[in-house]
């Protein structure tokens, strides 16, 4: 399928925004580590991964633009906070706690890779092609997160305890990733996105395997919450702060081409 039926453009936009907004916020947050990561080699790697995420977001905003005629910059920086579709787990800062940063990577990168692998099966060919390209890079990010988690989880008592605290700190936010976007059922019925009811259980197996290898304990909630969250525009105050800063330059001259 090369043309999206008119009534599915809005649901598809919601889905693409949820993927892109997660990546943009995570990339922005993680770029704060540039110059501050624990070792030089990781400083470079983590900064490069942050830039990957922002580049992925850009490609997805451009895909939305091809459906709606909007400019990628305007989509990324020009929306009211209620129009963002990121999950709440990507919104807060990590307090420059390396354990929190890594556990968030673990949760989000595994989810992102699984979501992109599904999007690669979309009947809408431009999305399938883009997702297939991005998922290959996302798997490199997954490997990076897994490697660090296992090293530090099995490292010293202190490194283990710090990761364990981070797991408990972020666990309540993890289900926010799985909230469906408005109109997702319609997308699934039209094969624009595969049925995703099993995504949460598949993710728990993947993430649980890494946590087990890292000697870390976790009890995932059995059920996902049903109240509205980030995917439907309900955000934390942390996102407002993030947007004020990230969009500061854009807002000085919204129409400018940078």
């Amino acid at each position: 399928m090369h043309e999206v039926p008119a009534h599915l453009i809005e649901p598809l936009k919601q889905l693409l925004l949820s993927i892109a907004d997660d990546k943009l916020m995570l990339g922005h947050r993680n770029s704060d580590w540039t110059g501050l990561a624990p070792i030089l080699e990781e400083d470079i790697a983590f900064s490069a991964i942050a830039q990957d995420e922002i580049a992925h977001a850009q490609a997805l905003y451009e895909l939305i633009g091809s459906l709606t005629g909007e400019r990628a910059d305007d989509i990324a920086f020009g929306r009211e906070i209620g129009a963002y579709r990121c999950a709440q787990i990507v919104e807060p800062g990590d307090g420059f706690d390396w354990g929190v940063a890594l556990v968030r990577q673990l949760f989000c990168d595994h989810f992102d890779a699984m979501r992109l692998a599904r999007a690669a099966q979309s009947a809408y060919k431009p999305l399938a092609d883009l997702a297939a390209r991005l998922v290959a890079e996302e798997r490199v990010h997954v490997e990076h997160a897994d490697t660090w988690l296992v090293r530090l989880g099995r490292g010293t008592g202190e490194s283990h305890d710090r990761l364990q605290r981070a797991v408990y700190q972020l666990l309540p936010l993890a289900p926010s990733l799985f909230e469906p976007v408005e109109g997702q059922d319609d997308l699934e019925q039209a094969s624009l996105y595969p049925p995703s009811a099993d995504l949460y259980s598949a993710w728990r197996v993947e993430v649980g395997t890494t946590l087990e290898r890292a000697n870390l304990r976790v009890e995932f909630p059995a059920q996902l919450p049903t109240e509205r969250g980030g995917r439907r525009g309900i955000h934390t105050p942390a996102l407002a702060e993030l947007l004020d800063e990230m969009c500061e330059v854009y807002r000085t001259e919204p129409g400018a081409a940078w």
Binding site: D32, I44, H56, T147
Partner: protein, 210 residues
């Protein structure tokens, strides 16, 4: 730079109770730019172990230019002809299994043509020790006989990416490179000032940037 960085919590040495148990080890990284091409020296990195070395090697050396494969070799496995690196005694899987200490094993040979050139993979030799591998390389490999410096490393000790494993970036991030940045600046000049102003700009002391 984010404002959040003005409040980075200070780390006091006293708050860390555990001492480091080992130093990061140096690894030399080679990249292969096309199928069946030689592996070329790309640089060094330090990592705690082999697996972490490969994760970091892929991020640092594999992703800003297209390459099809990466090798990482821990420095302690490299023997250099100028004596700078002495390999620790080699053990081959074959030797351990057969109980014979003198069995031959393959070593990869890298040569540096002149001082300052990059090291290039030129082939392999079979030898029972790193010193013997250096001698064998000098007598059997034409590039090695004339080289400024030779490195040898046991093939079995070379870490490598799996075939087809993606490592280079698929998105345009040329803004990260100096040439990408100047290209963008040049386009902006064209757009806003026209060709003549661009020429005048290029003639002044910033022309080196283009």
């Amino acid at each position: 730079m984010s404002k959040i960085r003005q409040n980075v919590p200070p780390v006091s040495e006293a708050s860390i109770e555990v001492r480091a148990t080992g130093d990061a080890k140096p690894y030399v990284i080679f990249t292969q730019l096309k199928e069946r091409g030689p592996h070329l020296y790309a640089g060094w990195l330090e990592a705690a172990d082999d697996e972490m070395a490969m994760v970091l090697a892929k991020e640092h050396y594999g992703r800003d230019q297209e390459c099809v494969g990466i090798w990482a070799i821990e420095r302690s496995h490299i023997q250099s002809s100028d004596g700078l690196y002495q390999a620790k005694p080699a053990t081959s899987v074959a030797a351990t299994k057969s109980g014979a200490s003198s069995s031959l094993m393959p070593f990869c040979v890298f040569t540096q043509k002149r001082a300052g050139d990059v090291f290039v993979e030129v082939g392999s030799v079979n030898a029972s020790s790193p010193a013997e591998a250096l001698n064998a390389a000098q007598s059997t490999t034409p590039q090695a006989s004339k080289a400024h410096c030779i490195w040898v490393a046991p093939r079995a000790e070379i870490l490598e990416t799996a075939p087809g494993e993606l490592i280079w970036r698929t998105t345009d991030q040329t803004y990260r490179l100096a040439r990408g940045y100047t290209r963008l600046v040049k386009e902006k000049w064209r757009q806003f000032r026209g060709e003549e102003a661009l020429k005048a700009y290029e003639e002044d002391d910033l022309k080196e940037e283009f």
